[in-house]
């Protein structure tokens, strides 16, 4: 539907307020100048050209935009860039090592075919990464609860669960 008016049509066009933000993304320090209303998702994609986090719904329903802030999974479409001043952010581009070796979560997703179109996959992988960081041996129910904020319209869920079980050390 039409975009909700963000300002009265009678108001004079003015330049939106900007601010400088320091973000450490995948271990690299960045200083960017952004509109204060810019989301972390837009800052990553448009300012830093890291397109691994995906826009899916724009309102925190689907999880395609999931990134890690200090290891915690967050929806970057609901997070303002200016709220991340000085924080350490991990995107999917930073998950594998610099020599290209995949993170175990990534390898498990490939081996178990825990993806189809792959558009939600960066968010799924990072949500799983955050879960395993705080709980290395989650039960099936804990995996399902932790992953329930990431939608997959292709329905790769059984394979995502299988990948999670393998990573948690459950027999397949």
């Amino acid at each position: 539907m039409p975009n909700a008016p963000s300002q009265s049509p009678d108001a004079a066009p003015t330049a939106a307020p900007h601010r400088t933000v320091h973000l450490t993304v995948n271990g690299i320090a960045h200083e960017i100048e952004v509109e204060t209303r810019r989301t972390l998702l837009d800052a990553l994609r448009a300012d830093l050209h890291l397109t691994g986090a995906k826009p899916g719904c724009g309102m925190g329903d689907c999880g395609a935009c999931t990134v890690l802030i200090e290891g915690e999974a967050v929806y970057s479409c609901l997070t303002l860039a200016v709220a991340c001043e000085g924080r350490a952010i991990t995107t999917i581009e930073g998950l594998s090592s610099s020599d290209g070796e995949l993170d175990p979560v990534q390898s498990a997703f490939i081996a178990h075919d825990a993806l189809q179109c792959g558009f939600c996959t960066p968010g799924q992988v990072l949500a799983m990464k955050a879960l395993l960081a705080r709980n290395p041996h989650p039960s099936d129910d804990e995996i399902a609860r932790a992953m329930s904020g990431n939608l997959c319209r292709c329905g790769a869920y059984p394979k995502i669960l299988a990948a999670g079980r393998a990573l948690a050390g459950h027999p397949s």
């Binding site: 039409p2 066009p13 994609r45 309102m59 997703f109 490939i110 319209r153 292709c154 394979k159």
Partner: protein, 771 residues
């Protein structure tokens, strides 16, 4: 190479068309039951898995070109209106805004697939596009949209399909004399005499069943990024059909087809909704062409859900008649389809009605109603999912009326031949699917199990088991072309113009090529998704990609292999047919002697590349190829809350040879989960007073999450269907979704002890049924 032109027939989603096939050379013989295959048939992780888990896969949304503008649309808030004035002056003056396109400056953009201006004067649904803002940033584009001043003349509207078909109803499109899809509707199919069949019936059942409009919600919305360099218009499109994009964009912009290049490497799902460029692709191309700057226009989730398609809603009335012993004497189906304002066709709701059960007297009546709602689009077995759900629940009601086991009733009326076209099926394993599925779900003891089931703390839990059948085409067809290139180091590139929409096409085509070439899988790379370098490939839909493209790739690989062995034969002074390629090495067929790698010979040719072409041959004539299958569902219903939980699905489908059991099972699971969503939760809600969609987002429109997933038991029949094509493989995209809602609905009816009246089976519908 002499060229032959053969006439064949192609079935696409229930519609049969005549097709001319140009053949250069011959396809290799079919891989039959006894074919010894090393790579085809083995569970194989995706060859592009790495890109998809690292963020390296570039989707249309991820294309970022220097100077690229971002687009946002202003859409009509009215269910039916005429746009009389657009004042964009304030928006145009806002920071970062480069252009505002609308009816009064861009009315010349015609959508060739609808033969209608994209910026039409008449806006026949809430969400029809009024203006497109092109700006430097997303925020600026959104701000400017809100500053575009539009004057509308509102018009009377109708959103209820049955009301729309009444003579006094407001006209959905004011230049049409009625709201019927077209003058050919209602459309009736008839064989035998249904009224006589009803009269001679000893037991009859009448059932009304409604199915909702369900939105696709592909995770990547519709959209495109386009660039005009003064010579070529390049469009990156989230599409299932790059050649359709090229055709439509060229026509819309008045360009030759060789001036348009359509590219789609990775896409975030389509499920049938992404054929052709969509209005968003036409707009991106038009704006890029006009402004001389790259333009990206990706729909917002809300715009996606009102303007980019959905599964059309149906109201179906079934009448079934049978003799006491269960023999069907009549089947009648009347379907009112709510097709939205801009429909061009009617979904195949009657496909299974005509052929699933043996019956001499069958009548189907399709009534297509235009309404002031957004356009529908194909959605994974369009019509067939809805038709099967309604028919299979009616069949269960007939079984109850007869006091017969529902499965026994189905077997009593088992159709051995394709009745509509009066010819045999190439193969029908449905009886076997019924038997296997019944065994695994515990069909024989389902009533006893239901009685024994623990009823929970409040005594309100009930268990039910139900099933439904599936039929679909899925054998693909021509035209589909591919090229195989052997490079000097003995590796191969397979060039196609197909699309991998998430099903694993790239992987199965690599498996097929590696198998045929005698190379390891790692030595084969598959290119797709580019009209400039690819060869013509059909749209990826209708479960036909593998069955169309696979044989073309196989033939190209077979020809390249033949040529390569010819060359090696010359180099070693041996007849080519004494040689073979195995795992990348040249081998003497008789002695088994290893003679070095293929690359060690090809590299002697100073850069020469062996190239060969392949194409999909004609389809088998006088026989109908079908995927047949059955699914069984076990559910738990809470009579207190109306909550339905699906505990288990058993899926038995005949999709011919299975090229990759790993990605095949993913497809089956995905189809089941989408079908579960359609059965239990997915439903567009329209405010009848205003004609607006109230849940065009992922907040209020619910799709399944990982916690909704039942145990899924997939039985692979995995037998080549030698009539289908040279692989013996059929598609698996649509079959698994088709029977899922019907099986769940029948299981719910079993659990609550009364018939269900439609989908989705939300708690409020269940509680209504229990009143």
């Amino acid at each position: 190479m002499p060229v032959r032109i053969i006439t064949t027939h192609l079935e696409f989603e229930g519609r049969v068309s005549e097709q001319r096939v140009v053949m250069e050379g011959d396809e290799p013989p079919v891989w039959g039951e006894d074919a010894e295959l090393r790579i085809v048939g083995k569970p194989t992780p995706r060859v592009d898995g790495r890109e998809r888990v690292t963020g390296g896969a570039t989707y249309t949304y991820d294309i970022q070109l220097p100077g690229q503008l971002t687009a946002a649309a202003l859409r009509s808030p009215h269910a039916h209106a005429r746009v009389t004035r657009v004042d964009a002056s304030r928006a145009e003056a806002m920071p970062g805004v480069r252009a505002v396109l609308h009816r009064f400056n861009a009315g010349d953009l015609i959508d060739p697939n609808r033969d209608r201006s994209v910026f039409a004067e008449e806006l026949p649904y809430a969400g029809a596009i009024v203006a497109l803002v092109l700006a430097d940033t997303r925020e600026q584009a959104a701000d400017a949209c809100a500053a575009v001043m539009v004057e509308y003349e509102t018009l009377p509207f109708v959103v209820d399909p049955e009301a729309a078909l009444q003579p006094e109803a407001p006209r959905v499109l004011s230049d049409r004399p009625h709201n019927k899809l077209n003058d050919e509707y209602p459309q009736t199919y008839q064989r035998g005499d249904v009224d006589a069949g009803i009269r001679e019936a000893e037991v009859t059942v009448e059932a009304r069943f409604e199915t909702p409009a369900a939105m696709h919600n592909s995770m990547e919305t519709h959209g495109a990024t386009a660039q005009w360099d003064g010579r070529t218009l390049t469009i990156y499109s989230s599409t299932q059909d790059i050649f359709g994009v090229r055709r439509a964009v060229a026509k819309a912009l008045g360009l030759h087809q060789n001036q348009v290049r359509a590219i789609k490497q990775y896409m975030g799902g389509g499920f049938g909704s992404k054929f052709g460029p969509h209005e968003s692709g036409l707009l991106a191309a038009y704006a890029a062409h006009r402004l001389g700057r790259p333009v990206q226009y990706m729909l917002s989730r809300e715009d996606e859900n009102v303007a980019a398609g959905h599964r059309s809603a149906t109201i179906q009335h079934f009448r079934l008649g049978a003799q006491r012993d269960g023999t069907l004497t009549a089947i009648e189906q009347r379907t009112v389809g709510n097709l939205g304002a801009l429909a061009g066709w009617f979904p195949a709701t009657a496909m299974a009605t005509k052929e699933l059960y043996q019956c001499a007297n069958v009548r189907t009546i399709d009534e297509g109603a235009r309404t002031n709602l957004g356009p529908f689009a194909a959605f994974r077995a369009p019509g067939v999912v809805e038709g099967i759900a309604a028919m299979e629940t009616a069949v269960d009601q007939l079984a109850a009326a007869l006091g017969m086991d529902p499965l026994e009733l189905r077997l009593k009326n088992y159709a051995e031949r394709h009745q509509d076209m009066q010819r045999p099926y190439a193969r029908k394993l449905l009886r076997e699917a019924y038997e296997i599925g019944a065994e695994r779900i515990g069909w024989a003891t389902r009533d006893a199990e239901a009685r024994r089931y623990p009823k929970g703390r409040d005594g309100t839990l009930r268990r039910g088991v139900g099933m439904a059948s599936q039929l679909w085409g899925g054998d693909g067809g021509p035209p589909a072309q591919a090229q195989a290139k052997l490079l000097p180091d003995g590796t191969a590139v397979i060039i196609t113009g197909t699309q991998d929409i998430g099903t694993g096409t790239r992987t199965v085509l690599a498996q097929i090529a590696a198998e045929e070439l005698g190379l390891p899988l790692e030595a084969v790379r598959v290119e797709l998704g580019d009209t400039e370098f690819g060869l013509y490939s059909p749209p990826s839909g209708g479960s036909m990609t593998l069955a169309s493209m696979g044989p073309a790739v196989r033939m190209a690989a077979a020809e390249a292999r033949k040529d390569a062995l010819e060359i090696v034969g010359h180099l070693v002074e041996a007849p080519a047919d004494a040689l073979d390629i195995r795992d990348g090495g040249i081998v003497n067929r008789e002695t088994g002697r290893e003679m070095g790698t293929l690359g060690s010979y090809l590299e002697q040719l100073d850069g020469h590349e062996v190239t060969a072409k392949g194409m999909r041959g004609p389809n088998a004539e006088n026989v109908t190829v079908r995927t047949f299958g059955a699914q069984f569902a076990e559910v738990e219903v809470d009579l207190g809350t109306g909550q339905v939980r699906v505990r288990r699905i058993v899926a038995v489908h005949d999709c011919g040879r299975i090229v990759n059991p790993l990605t095949f099972s993913s497809q089956i699971e995905g189809g089941i989960i989408q079908g579960l969503g359609f059965a239990l939760m997915e439903q567009r809600v329209v405010d009848q007073r205003f004609g607006t969609v109230m849940n065009a987002n992922l907040e209020q429109f619910h799709i399944p999450t990982i916690r909704d997933v039942p145990e899924i038991d997939i039985v692979l029949l995995d037998r080549p269907n030698t009539y289908a094509n040279t692989l013996g493989a059929l598609g698996a995209g649509e079959p698994p979704i088709i029977p899922t809602p019907g099986a769940i609905a029948n299981a719910v009816a079993h659990a609550i002890g009364r018939p269900v009246s439609g989908l989705p089976l939300t708690p409020d519908r269940i509680l209504d049924l229990l009143k």
